[in-house]
Symmetry: C2
Subunit: 345 residues, 2 copies
DNA sequence: TTTAGCACTCTATACTATAGAGTGCTAAAG
DNA sequence: CTTTAGCACTCTATAGTATAGAGTGCTAAA
């Protein structure tokens, strides 16, 4: 994408975007004239701004107001004009201390911390998609007898998931019998992703075990269920109230729609999943988003991974009037840290 | 608490409360005269209302407006005048189907379902305090070796909690060694509540085990930590966006304060814990609430239990203009169901 | 004790006037 | 050809004014 604006126009567009991001007010020609290094008059700026509007980079809310960037204007800014900020020491410290691999071994905890850090550093709403359970590979399966009639199934994946589920035995099982079953299952399932455990594979296993021990039917049904159930993935949210600080959400109705969206996890998941194919940081401005509910917002996402395997997506959601440079810098840093913390555990 | 109003005043107060709950508009004398069974004129009603205002049961927002109930008015209504509603079939079904003990064995799932049901049935925000981990008693402790250097500690309580934590071994442990440690710990800890596992007890155990096996130091530190960490209790929320539908929250600033509150779990916990001593359903109207942030709200709470041991608290939070009869009926039913579902598992 | 009647109060709504910000255009200057 | 000063014009936001309507409190009669 080559620049298609001359230098002066770029300077002016840049000025409008930066000013508008800061003040949330339409930017007038005088404001820009004052801050413009070249020392042009407001009339000149006005002409240029009129051009920029005609070209679709700026919008005039009404005849006697200043200009605000259009979606296209933001896009041009992000692609060609934006500077990345240095992270403030404050933010740098927050990220490195609260996400260090040190104490935390559970992946959920690391992710929850990340949402907190991300939303407080950006003043926006952050959303993070946890690792997809069904894309994780079996690592170990254990069954702990609790008493004569119940056992605890513990399932551990390569991505650090630990799932457990209480099951009822229909008949009493001896320690040895359990042992046999478990080691058989482990052998069969090792390395498969949850996705790959199809109904037919389960049936096959069931038949196999059935022949040996006729006791497990009930336990098996429950195990099967427990796998099915875990299809949903958690999306972690942080700073949902931050949108209330944005002047573009002073309308109660907009707030309601936004908060409603936040309560619908499956939708959030789809929104995040949609961008997770790409490797780098993705910026979706306004209607570039596929989902109706966020067509007035900007979503910036990045993916985090463990040993080069993509685990999930980190996102920041806010109005299109967002400090792109700042958010992107922060997200870069956070994703780096996340990758590092996860890989070292 | 004996009734201190004559019959007619009670009728009128009742009318005001019911009308105001329905319409959210100050209630005028004519409105009441129309619906009053005795067939009184508006002038008479006006006089009575003036009395009721002087006595502190009603409030006039401004001279030429109708009356609204004062906090005292609501209190009198709840104590003396309120009818409990029959549950609609719809709600009845929601409660009995989505909380039936059937499939769900994990307590967290039952509770999350409860918040959903409660908030959708009442159109208010629901909050439920999960069982307090630290008040739960040890049932079993297990350690599963994952590989040479790591193990999974699984802790099961009598209230159905299952906590797990990965720990690092500093040295390699044999199956038998682990077995010994675990059975020793189980013997020592069985039946104690998490609360009772004091630092000194842990130290004692540590010394004890240390003598036998010098290997466990690291593992112990981590176990200790994992117990400490679990001090926080989860408060589950449902229908937080429902407050946006209440006309008393049309002010963005109030919304912000409310949502902010919802994000502070420790505070929510305190708010709920505060009422959990009592056995029955507790109604806290307006400034009867101790906590500043909800002094304009009404909080209705009930406790749920398993085998006569109190597990946690269920709450509904909304404006003082709340359909008390309806919410209380729903909560009664829900708590009953909850007790039943939990006890049968 | 109740009620009809009426003057009075207050709010919400619509309408009007005004200041201020910013524009677009024209014509002169560089 | 580009830039700029100047000015008329447009639109919004704000304050001020008028009016209708709801509801009251009080008085005097039933």
């Amino acid at each position: 994408m080559t620049a298609e604006l001359n230098d002066r126009k770029e300077q002016i567009l840049r000025s409008v975007v930066i000013n508008y991001i800061k003040t949330a007010e339409p930017v007038g020609s005088r404001t820009i004239a004052r801050s413009h290094p070249g020392g042009l008059s407001s009339a000149t700026i006005r002409n240029e701004m009129a051009d920029l509007e005609e070209m679709g980079y700026l919008i005039q809310p009404h005849t006697s107001a200043g200009r605000i960037p259009s979606q296209r204007g933001y896009r041009y800014y992000v692609d060609n004009l934006m500077d990345l900020n240095e992270l403030s020491e404050d933010v740098e410290e927050k990220i490195s201390t609260s996400l260090s691999a040190g104490k935390m071994r559970e992946i959920e905890q690391i992710i929850m911390n990340s949402t907190r850090v991300l939303s407080s550093a950006t003043n926006q709403t952050s959303l993070i998609m946890g690792p997809q359970f069904k894309k994780s590979a079996f690592h170990q399966l254990r069954i702990l007898p609790l008493d004569e009639k119940r056992g605890l199934v513990v399932l551990i994946t390569d991505t650090g998931f630990i799932k457990n589920k209480v099951i009822d035995f229909q008949h009493q099982l001896s320690q040895t019998e359990l042992q046999q079953i478990v080691s058989y299952l482990n052998q069969k399932l090792y390395g498969l992703t949850i996705d790959q455990v199809t109904a037919s594979l389960i049936n096959e296993l069931k038949r196999d075990l059935f022949r040996r021990l006729e006791i497990l039917e009930q336990a098996f049904i429950l195990l099967e269920e427990s796998l099915k159930e875990e299809k949903q993935i958690r999306v972690f949210l942080g700073g949902t109230t931050n949108i209330l600080n944005q002047p573009e959400f002073k309308d109660v109705d907009k707030i309601r729609r936004m908060l409603n969206l936040f309560e619908q996890e499956p939708l959030l998941f789809k929104i995040l999943e949609d961008t997770s194919r790409e490797d780098n940081i993705v910026v979706r401005i306004g209607s570039e988003n596929e989902f109706e509910d966020i067509k007035e917002c900007t979503l910036i996402t990045g993916t985090y991974r463990i040993h080069d395997k993509t685990l999930g997506t980190v996102g920041v959601l806010g109005p299109t009037r967002m400090d792109y440079g700042k958010v992107i810098s922060i997200m870069r840093r956070l994703v780096d840290q996340l990758n590092q913390s996860l890989s070292s555990s």
